[in-house]
């Protein structure tokens, strides 16, 4: 499981380098990247739209479907990395701050 050892920064750098090597940077404004992100999310939704929640879970247990879905997750993630890169956002800091804020908004349940 590569997620256990891969930093967000490494994936951000990889996304940035990939784009730079193709001279795509002039197109990578926050506006364009946000729009491209929305396109990719549309593709991620597609296999699930006519399924029930349980069926969507079962679909992800099928290796071929999961691989196809992983491909779309990768596209969404890459765009989010590029967006963060070009808008100067540290994702890990943003997530930590947001979870802290949400912890106040939605207190944890105690038994």
């Amino acid at each position: 499981m590569a997620d256990a050892t891969t930093t967000v920064g490494a994936l951000k750098d990889a996304a940035g380098a990939f784009a730079a090597e193709r001279r795509w940077e002039p197109f990578h404004t926050p506006k364009n990247l946000a729009m491209a992100l929305a396109c990719e999310v549309g593709e991620l939704l597609e296999p699930f739209r006519w399924l029930t929640g349980e069926e969507s879970l079962a679909a992800c247990r099928d290796p071929a479907t999961r691989a196809a879905v992983a491909d779309e997750v990768a596209d969404v993630f890459n765009l989010l990395m590029l967006f963060s890169l070009h808008s100067g956002i540290d994702v890990s800091d943003a997530v930590t701050a947001k979870l802290a804020k949400n912890a106040v908004k939605y207190p944890a349940k105690s038994d």
Copy 2:
């Protein structure tokens, strides 16, 4: 910059623990999470819809705007982590595989 040292797995675990502590797991099917992700992406697009590309870049240089945008990035990222968690996807592996595939599809420019 926390992205340099924070693993994707750590943020995935944090998103999962946050949801578990609130008993939100029964709602976290891949279908529901994909849908929630689309909602958050809609919020991320919002500040940019009427701006030009250059204005969107300038907007992200303003600390207050960037902080608000970072908040939305965090929501999108968290949902993507939960989606990956519940669909059994290793994001780092998926990204590495997708970049390799895209490198064939879009060869790098040489000078």
Copy 3:
């Protein structure tokens, strides 16, 4: 039921006039309008993300929820009208053509 007697053109004109009276037209490029449409769709998804299909149906039977959802439908529809207006698309012609194309792609079931 106003839908039985209201033409698409009348709603397109109303959306266009509303924007013109507010001098919003310079912002209404196809790109910006498509992006604004995506924002509104995100809001339309929001009340349904954690519901099952049946619960979403039940939610729409509740007058207060239905009124709130209708508000979001109106926003999506208005943006789609503005988009069509500024991209020179006749929606009724487009729909008729697409249904004809889809009728070939997905033949009707016969008993």
Copy 4:
């Protein structure tokens, strides 16, 4: 221009009949239709994501591009009709009510 004479109700009925003839109705909960709508909007955004606003306008003046975009508009519109049908929403009434509400929120400019 068919929009001048085609009622919203006629297009709603056409969308509903098309689905009924294919026995798609069991899948057409508000939740599923909202999700399918988001997918179609993603496709509508796609040709515009890397363009400037002016380029997006120029793209829509090209007949071949406009025809392709019209196809996506038709998909979005159809899904919105199905959503309205299954959630019991009169689109024309909703739009009229929303424009009245927005007229208070955003007063028209006077010279």
